[in-house]
C-alpha cells in the first residue's frame, strides 16, 4: 500500500467497514473509480486558484495590454513604440546598470565567500554575515536611498569632509547620485549580499577530498584553485551573476526613491507610462514595456536554470 493511495483508501474503508483496521485492507482505489482520482486533485485547488488570480492573470494582462489600444482594439503600435530611441536608450541604460552592478557584485561577493571558507556554519561570524546579507539583499527602495543620501549625499559628513579637508568635491560635475551613475553605487549595496547568499552554498559544496587529492597528487594551492575549484565553481558563479543581473534589471523602488528627474531605466519608464499624462503616457505602453522586460528576464532566468542544473550534477 503506498502513501499515495492511502487517503482515498482510508476514507472509503472507514465509511464501509469501521471495524476493520485500514492498514490491513488490500490496495484498491477502483472502489471510487474515476471520481476518486479527480477528488485527489481537489487539495491543490486553493493554491492553484490563488496563483491563477494573483499571478497568472496579472502577468497575462501585463504583457497582453501591450497589444491593445485604450479602446480595446488590437494593435502593434505599442510594440513598435519600443523601437523609439528614448525607449531603446532606457533599455540600454538598464542593461548597463544591471551588468556592471552584477559583475562588481559577483566579484566582491565571491571574495567575501572565499574569505568565509572554513568558518563554522553555525558560528557567530557566519550567522551575523548570513543575517546581515539577507537583510541587505532585501534592503531596497526608500530606506536604501535614504542611507546613501545620508552617506554620500550633498550634505553628508563624508562629502563635506572631502570637500573641506581634501578639497575634493565629488559632486563637482553634477550630483550624480540621483542619476543612473548613482544607481551603480547604490545597487551594488544589495547586489553583494545577494551574491553572498546565492554563492556561498556552492563554495561550501567544494569537497575537501578534492583539495586533499590534489595535494597527494603533487598539486599546489595554485593548481587546486585554477584546475579544480574555479572550473567546478564556474557554472554556479555565472548562474549567480545572471541572478544578480535579473535582480538589478527588475529593481524599481530604489530608483523611484533616488531618481527625481526623468525615467532613465525601464522600471521607471513603466511607472511613467502608468501615471503620467505626457505623450508617452499611454497606459498600454506600460504593457509593451512590461513585455520587453519579461522577455529579458525569461532569457536571463533560463540561462540561470541551465547553469544551476550543471552545478547540482557535479556537487551531488
Amino acid at each position: 500500500m503506498t502513501v499515495a493511495n492511502a487517503p482515498v483508501l482510508v476514507s472509503g474503508v472507514v465509511q464501509a467497514e469501521p471495524g476493520r483496521h485500514p492498514v490491513t485492507e488490500p490496495a484498491g482505489t477502483t472502489r471510487r473509480g474515476r471520481f476518486g482520482g479527480l477528488a485527489k486533485y481537489l487539495g491543490l485547488a486553493p493554491f492553484a486558484v490563488y496563483v491563477l488570480i494573483f499571478l497568472g492573470v496579472p502577468t497575462v494582462l501585463a504583457v497582453a495590454t501591450g497589444f491593445f489600444t485604450e479602446d480595446g482594439a488590437f494593435t502593434l503600435d505599442n510594440i513598435a513604440g519600443l523601437a523609439d530611441p528614448v525607449v531603446l536608450a532606457t533599455f540600454a541604460s538598464s542593461f548597463w546598470v544591471s551588468a556592471i552592478t552584477a559583475i562588481v557584485g559577483s566579484v566582491v561577493g565571491a571574495l567575501v565567500c572565499y574569505a568565509l571558507l572554513g568558518t563554522r556554519a553555525g558560528g557567530t561570524l557566519r550567522s551575523l554575515i548570513d543575517s546581515a546579507s539577507s537583510v541587505l539583499a532585501q534592503f531596497g527602495g526608500v530606506m536604501l536611498a535614504f542611507a546613501f543620501i545620508a552617506a554620500i549625499g550633498g550634505q553628508s559628513l563624508l562629502t563635506l569632509w572631502l570637500k573641506n579637508t581634501l578639497g575634493f568635491d565629488i559632486y563637482a560635475d553634477g550630483v550624480w547620485l540621483y542619476q543612473p551613475a548613482g544607481l551603480l553605487v547604490v545597487y551594488t549595496y544589495f547586489q553583494v549580499p545577494l551574491m553572498i547568499i546565492t554563492f556561498l552554498p556552492a563554495l561550501e559544496g567544494l569537497k575537501s577530498q578534492w583539495a586533499e587529492a590534489n595535494a597527494t597528487l603533487g598539486g599546489t594551492r595554485f593548481t587546486y584553485w585554477t584546475r579544480i575549484a574555479f572550473p567546478v565553481l564556474a557554472p554556479s558563479f555565472f548562474g549567480s551573476l545572471l541572478l544578480l543581473f535579473a535582480n538589478a534589471f527588475s529593481s524599481y523602488a530604489t530608483a523611484a526613491a533616488l531618481v527625481s528627474q526623468g525615467s532613465p531605466i525601464v522600471p521607471l519608464q513603466i511607472r511613467a507610462a502608468l501615471v503620467s499624462e505626457t505623450v508617452l503616457g499611454r497606459e498600454n505602453m506600460a504593457g509593451a514595456l512590461a513585455l520587453g522586460m519579461v522577455v529579458v528576464m525569461v532569457v536571463v532566468m533560463w540561462g540561470y536554470s541551465v547553469l544551476q542544473a550543471r552545478t547540482s550534477r557535479w556537487q551531488k
Binding site: 482510508v10 499571478l55 548570513d130 546581515a132 535614504f146 550634505q155 559628513l157 522586460m293 528576464m297
Partner: protein, 272 residues
Amino acid sequence: MTKNAVRIGTEPNPVVRWVILGVVGVVFAFPILAMIEFTFRDGLSGAHTLDHWTGLVSEDAARTYRNLFTAIGNSLLLAVVTVAIVLVVLLPTMILVHLQFPRLKRVLEFVCIIPITVPAIVLVVGLAPVYAVVVRVFGGSIWTLAFAYGITVLPYAYRAIQSNLDAVDVVTLSEAGRTLSADWGRVLWFVLLPNLKRGVLAASFISVAVVLGEFTIASLLNRVNLQTALLQVGQSDPYVAIIFALLALLLAFLLLLSIGRLGRPRRSGSGS
C-alpha cells in the same frame, strides 16, 4: 589542522580573510552608520541632539506622526495576513505535493520561481484591473494587498519550507504514522508539523521582512504602507523617516538572525 587547510587551499590565509571581511564590512557599515549619525543631527548647524528620537515619544507624537503610525500599522497587518496566506495556502499545498504528487514537484517549484522572472514592477501593471475586482468583493481596506504580497514572497517562502521538507524524510515519517493507525489529520498535526517548524518559521520571518520592505506594489496601486509613508515623510521630516527606516531594518535583522539560530542543530554533544 587549520594551518594545513591553508596549505592545501581549502581555507584562505587568516590575514587575507580578515582584510577582505574588514574592508567589505567597513564599506557596508558606512551607510548605516551615516544614517544613525544623521538622526542625531541638529539641522545644518553641525551640532548633535537627541530631539529627533525623543520627539517620537512626546505627547504630540501620536498626532504629528499619525499618518506614519497608521502606515506602520498597515504594514504590520499586511505582514500578518501574508504569513497567514503562506501557512494556510502554500504550506499545505507543498506538503500535499511532496507526499502525493511527486511528479508535480517540479511544476510547483517552477510556479514559485516565476515571481522572480515577473518582478513586482511588471506584475503591478496587470494587478490594477484585478484589484478593481478585489475592491468590489472585499472592500477597499489595506489588508487585501496581502494577496499580492503572498505572490511576492512565494520564492523565499517556498525555498525555506522546501529545504526543511527535503531534510526531514516526510514520506517515511507519514508512512510510519499511518502504519501506527493515525489518520491524515493526526499525522499532519503530531508528526509532520513539529518537524517542519524550522522551515515554517523561516518562511514566516522572511515573509515579514519582505512585506515590511515592499514599496513597488503599494506605491503603484496607491496604497499606504510603511515604505510609501517613509518616502512621503522623508520629504518633510527626513530625521523621523530615517529613524523609522533604521528601526525597520533592525527588526528585519533580528528576525533573520533568529532564522539562522533556528537552523542550528540541537546541542546533543555529538561531534566527530
